[in-house]
């Protein structure tokens, strides 16, 4: 049967050439990077090389890169770590209504622990207005966190403009770049960020490894205590194979980024054009400020999980923001923040494209979806043909 993976925002397959770079560090080069003998030194060299690579791509210094066990850990460390270290300066944090749960829940954990939080709304396309950030800043604001691009609807935020005014105010600025690393250019000085998080498995690297950029001079209270790895910011023996994989995957993605983004954007637009021919279909997010690989729509009168099951029966892997796929009774907070009604948010579909996606994959998907939507609508008491 045809098998088409269109959920690259969830995770991506490890590139074979990335796996090659990792393999030695599982077996013969198994050393602990903190050891003084040959095995340790070679592990340390691999770690240093990887850090240099990541730093260079981000326009940062090597010592500004902290490797973590996931993107979520990087985000938790950035937010909790910076807020804790800054608490004498103030306890006010600003974030947005569409952050990933890793950021949103970290901020709300801080709120439970004595911090004040301002959550900024977004417009109907999911964009934050930098002026709204400016008016939310207070003398005791210590930290602002805005995601670079949204994982569900693909909207790209004006990070550079927001960062400039946050930094001018004297607060720290974090961006969750988990969805943009490997896809958009990430330069920490152009973006005006103090903290930036990413995860290897979103750009064809391995799972279980992430990275956090920490601008020189920014203090972080560690989440994991123990050894002096990562300059005391994250204890635990380094996952050398994973870190080598992260660096080589980011390096490959950076080299291919521009061409690949153009190719993906063409496929994305082809998908949108086809899906828009289905009646009662709404595009979620911005058509202009949008990730090149993200397609998000809502089909009225149907529910997302039954749509996904039908797609799966035809070999198509996709995702939805419906309540039934989230394990709660609420549909996605992102879709609701864009102003969608619960009814419509339940019928969302996200297709995220990647390196292996071809035009014929797009056409296959466009051939299947209208029939599935039609069938489910015929079955829906909300739909009057």
């Amino acid at each position: 049967m045809t098998q088409i993976y269109m959920d690259h925002a969830a995770t991506t397959p490890l590139r074979p050439e990335v796996l090659e770079t990792m393999l030695p560090y599982f077996s013969e080069e198994f050393g602990n990077a903190s050891s003084v003998y040959g095995w340790g030194r070679r592990a340390r060299q691999a770690l240093d090389r990887s850090r240099d690579t990541v730093a260079e791509i981000l326009g940062a210094q090597a010592e500004e890169i902290v490797f973590t066990g996931s993107g979520s850990e990087a985000i938790n460390l950035a937010l909790k770590g910076a807020a804790k270290a800054q608490q004498k300066k103030g306890r006010h944090i600003v974030t947005t209504a569409i952050e990933h749960h890793a950021a949103y829940d970290s901020v709300f954990w801080l709120k439970k622990n004595g911090y004040e939080v301002t959550v900024l709304p977004v417009d109907s396309e999911g964009r934050i207005n930098p002026e709204a950030v400016r008016s939310a800043l207070r003398p005791d604001t210590i930290l602002v966190s805005v995601m670079h691009a949204n994982n569900e609807v693909g909207t790209i935020q004006p990070i550079s403009a927001i960062g400039a005014l946050v930094q001018e105010h004297g607060a720290l600025f974090h961006t969750d770049a988990v969805q943009t690393a490997g896809i958009l250019k990430l330069n920490v000085d152009e973006l005006n960020v103090d903290l930036l998080s990413l995860a290897a498995h979103k750009f064809y690297g391995p799972k279980g490894v992430g990275a956090l950029y920490v601008r020189k001079g920014v203090r972080l209270e560690p989440l994991v205590h123990g050894g002096f790895q990562e300059r005391g910011r994250r204890a635990g023996t380094e996952n050398i194979a994973g870190i080598v994989g992260l660096a080589s995957a980011l390096d490959l993605a950076a080299a291919e980024r521009e061409l690949e983004s153009r190719r993906l954007a063409r496929l994305r637009d082809r998908l949108f054009a086809g899906l828009q021919e289905i009646p009662f279909t709404r595009i979620n997010g911005s058509r202009v400020h949008r990730l090149p690989n993200n397609v998000s729509v809502c089909f009225e009168f149907i529910e997302g999980e039954s749509l996904l099951l039908n797609l799966d029966l035809r070999g198509i892997a996709a995702s939805s923001g419906s309540a039934c796929t989230s394990g709660s009774l609420e549909p996605s907070h992102v879709l609701l923040a864009l102003g969608l009604s619960h009814e419509i948010a339940h019928g969302s579909l996200r297709l995220t494209l990647g390196r292996e996606t071809t035009e014929s994959d797009v056409d296959y998907v466009l051939g299947e979806i209208p029939e599935i939507v039609h069938r489910l609508r015929e079955m829906s008491p909300l739909y009057q043909a």
Binding site: E303, E305, M379, P381
Partner: protein
Amino acid sequence: MYSEKVMDHFRNPRNVGELSQADGIGEVGNARCGDIMKLWIKVENGVISDLRFKTFGCGAAIATSSMITEIAKGKTLDEAENITDNLIAEALDGLPPLKMHCSNLAADALKAAIADYRLKQSSAS
């Protein structure tokens, strides 16, 4: 995560549609929560002779809707009213824990359709 039985009823739902000459109609759930079931029943001599449904909802909601139409067909009204959510779930070889509320939806829709039928009967007589 779904049993073969659930997927069978999801793929080929039984008795989808509407009954133009229905004796009772039940509608439960709400779009806000992501599931609505509407059920039409035909009653002859105190027995449910036919049913049709339309459901807006997840895979489990569609499968339980389909299953209850099979279970209820040929049952007396009293028997049909006693069909529990657990019975529907068991007939489908179980539902994931998070989806158990979907079987309530089907049982409630049937109860609502029977109540509607009884109301119409009492107002007609």
